[in-house]
């Protein structure tokens, strides 16, 4: 086991190095010169040169790359061009909001999606199954901004029972009131995000339950005289969980990246909206920082998922 984990972590480190290298160069392929964007056009060329120098943009790309690596080791992701603040600080401000939004969304979708998928797979072809399928496909195909705006229009504007944006109302802080206020701000973004994620869980789980239920050992369990519920939960679900765990791992890994569209529509102060703004402002230290954190989180979740799958399935050899 220890050997397997070590090997997996080493592989993770190599993946991470490749990812950050790619990130560094891809971000610099953006067809714009940040200094020009930053500068007031009335400023002189000398000024521009000074600015480039301040950000280290005057040096050759390869030199920039190594100083980027050196800084990264120190946990320094550079300085935002626009906000003139350390990228790390900015991300750390946004991350808790995104994690709050995503954790709640993931938790609800899993709690609803997995049982729904299992039941649907069990009752394959029934009316229930067909409805679940249709809804899942609808959810996965819906255009997120459209759904977001529609919800905002109905609940935020027409009925005016829910806030139209942000993560909390300024001025309210502390106590139960703050807690409820944050909760209210979460409702619409969570519903919007669920429409995408729920289908994933339902369809993956359903598919693998259908596969597993046709296995011979399920017939064996029935012939042993097991209750149908036990056959379904103990024999089928556990075996069917492996694809779902893999999917969940990937989705949880991507959580720190926030949800660009949803957060932007709801003006939610998370990582996703930050990425959107950084793109429109060509603020590539922020983009770079966000991508690195995202890559790190995905890689870590992948390692955890692999270990979990090895634990779940004795056939996956721990070597």
């Amino acid at each position: 086991m220890a050997k397997y984990i070590t090997k997996r972590i080493l592989k993770g480190i190599v993946t991470f190095l490749i990812t950050i290298t790619l990130t560094f160069f891809i971000v610099r392929l953006m067809p714009a010169d940040p200094a020009t964007l930053l500068m007031d056009p009335r400023m002189s060329e000398a000024h521009r040169q000074q600015l480039l120098k301040d950000f280290g943009l005057d040096k050759p790309l390869i030199v920039q790359y190594f100083s980027f690596l050196r800084n990264l080791l120190k946990g320094d992701l550079g300085i935002s061009f626009m906000q003139k603040r350390p990228v790390m600080d900015i991300i750390m401000e946004k991350l808790p909001w995104t994690l709050l939004l995503m954790t709640i969304t993931q938790f609800i979708t899993m709690a609803v999606g997995i049982p729904l998928g299992i039941y649907s797979g069990h009752k394959r072809g029934s009316l229930f199954d067909q409805i679940v399928n249709a809804v899942a496909i609808f959810g996965i195909s819906i255009f997120v901004p459209w759904l977001g705006f529609t919800l905002l229009y109905i609940f935020g504007y027409n009925l005016a029972i829910l806030p139209i944006g942000g993560a909390h109302t300024p001025g309210i802080d502390g106590g139960l009131e703050y807690f409820l206020d944050v909760g209210k701000h979460l409702i619409l973004p969570v519903i919007t995000l669920m429409s995408i994620y729920l289908a994933n869980y339902v369809l993956y789980t359903r598919g693998s339950v259908i596969d597993v239920l046709s296995e011979d050992y399920i017939r064996t369990a029935r012939s042993k005289g097991m209750k149908e519920m036990r056959v379904l939960w103990k024999h089928a679900s556990k075996n069917a969980m492996i694809p779902t765990v893999t999917t969940a791992g990937l989705m949880i890994g991507r959580m720190v990246g926030g949800a660009v569209l949803t957060e932007t529509v709801f003006a939610y102060p998370g990582v996703g909206r930050m990425i959107y703004q950084a793109v429109s402002q060509q603020d590539f230290p922020i983009l770079q920082g966000a991508f690195i954190i995202l890559a790190l989180s995905v890689i870590i979740m992948n390692i955890i998922t692999d270990i979990l799958c090895a634990y779940l399935d004795p056939r996956i050899k721990l070597e």
């Binding site: 011979d216 050992y217 017939r219 064996t220 012939s223 042993k224 005289g225 209750k227 399935d313 056939r315």
Partner: protein, 320 residues
């Protein structure tokens, strides 16, 4: 002899989903099969793939829903019972499956698979069940340490022994073995067949032994039913059937048994073609299109199962 099971006019039809342009089709996997089962005997069910022998085996254990007919277990019709009643009757009848690997849950250790039914039917406590599982493993010729291992860690023969141990756990009266050795090497086949025989001598199990290999069935069975396209075409004791096969299909099957004598003349009767589709069986005698003794009547009239001195056969040659 004590009769423990009686199957009357059992039918199992599968409905094949029609496509957009075709109507639903009905596949008659088992069509009007009747037999009795006596305590301690081995009934062999033989036939080609598609003859309905496995379906018969599964239906009498109610792993499949019978379409029509009675299944009397100790005088009680179990063909319609459900739920708790069915569950409790299942512990008296167990099945051993063809593919010993696929039929074991890969996520459970051998031990867990074996003790599960004992716990679930509240037969024994955890400790006693474990104790019994160790005994069972040794009984089928395995090390009791194997309790803690997973199915993928075993060879084919070992897995089938595990499958047998699993079936024995409930101390069943009837064991339906569905081609239990056809996935194994010939040398291993012999060991497993001997295991079946030993266990029967020791515990007096009643077997329904399903196979397509007549030599395997010959060694184990007391009575043999030959099936073709969902019907029993010949039914008799082993001795009578092998000495004096009546149905042309049985005669052809017998001729296919390899004789361990290089000088023996090859009198093998080779049947033309494949078994017809059970969706669309031949009218008249179902064997008519492949029969080497076909008469005119065979195309038109479906023969009944007639009895000649306790030897049942479904063929126009003997209907008079």
């Amino acid at each position: 002899m004590e009769k423990i099971m009686e199957v009357n006019n059992l039918k199992k039809y599968f409905t094949l989903k029609g496509s957009l342009f075709s109507r639903k089709k009905i596949l008659k996997a088992v069509d009007d099969v009747s037999f009795e089962l006596y305590k301690g005997e081995t009934l062999g069910l033989v036939g080609e793939s598609g003859s309905g022998k496995s379906t018969t085996g599964r239906t009498i254990l109610r792993l499949l829903e019978p379409t029509y007919g009675q299944i009397l277990y100790r005088g009680k019709d179990i063909s319609k019972i459900n739920g708790e009643e069915l569950r409790s009757i299942r512990k008296n009848m167990q099945m051993i499956f063809q593919d010993p690997y696929a039929s074991l849950n890969p996520r459970m250790t051998i031990g867990e698979s074996i003790i599960e039914p004992m716990l679930s039917h509240n037969l024994l406590g955890k400790k006693d069940a474990e104790e019994r599982a160790f005994e069972l493993l040794e009984l089928v010729g395995l090390d009791s340490d194997y309790y803690y291992r997973y199915p993928h860690q075993f060879s084919g023969g070992q897995r089938q022994r595990i499958g047998i141990a699993r079936a024995l756990a409930m101390n069943p009266e009837i064991i339906v073995a569905d081609e239990p050795v056809s996935a194994l090497d010939v040398s291993v086949q012999a060991q497993i067949i001997n295991l079946f025989k030993d266990l029967q001598e020791k515990f007096g199990f009643t077997y329904v032994f399903i196979a397509h290999d007549l030599s395997v069935v010959k060694y184990l069975s007391n009575r043999i039913a030959v099936m073709y396209l969902g019907e029993i075409v010949e039914f008799s004791t082993k001795e009578v059937l092998f000495n004096e096969p009546l149905h042309p299909y049985t005669i052809a099957l017998m001729s296919a048994i390899p004789v361990p004598d290089p000088r023996a003349k090859d009198k093998r009767i080779v049947l033309d073609g494949d078994i017809p589709s059970p969706v669309n069986p031949p009218q008249g005698c179902r064997f008519s299109n492949r029969c080497f003794r076909k008469m005119d009547i065979c195309d038109e009239v479906h023969p009944e199962l007639v009895e000649i001195n306790g030897h049942k056969v479904r063929c126009h040659l003997y209907s008079a």
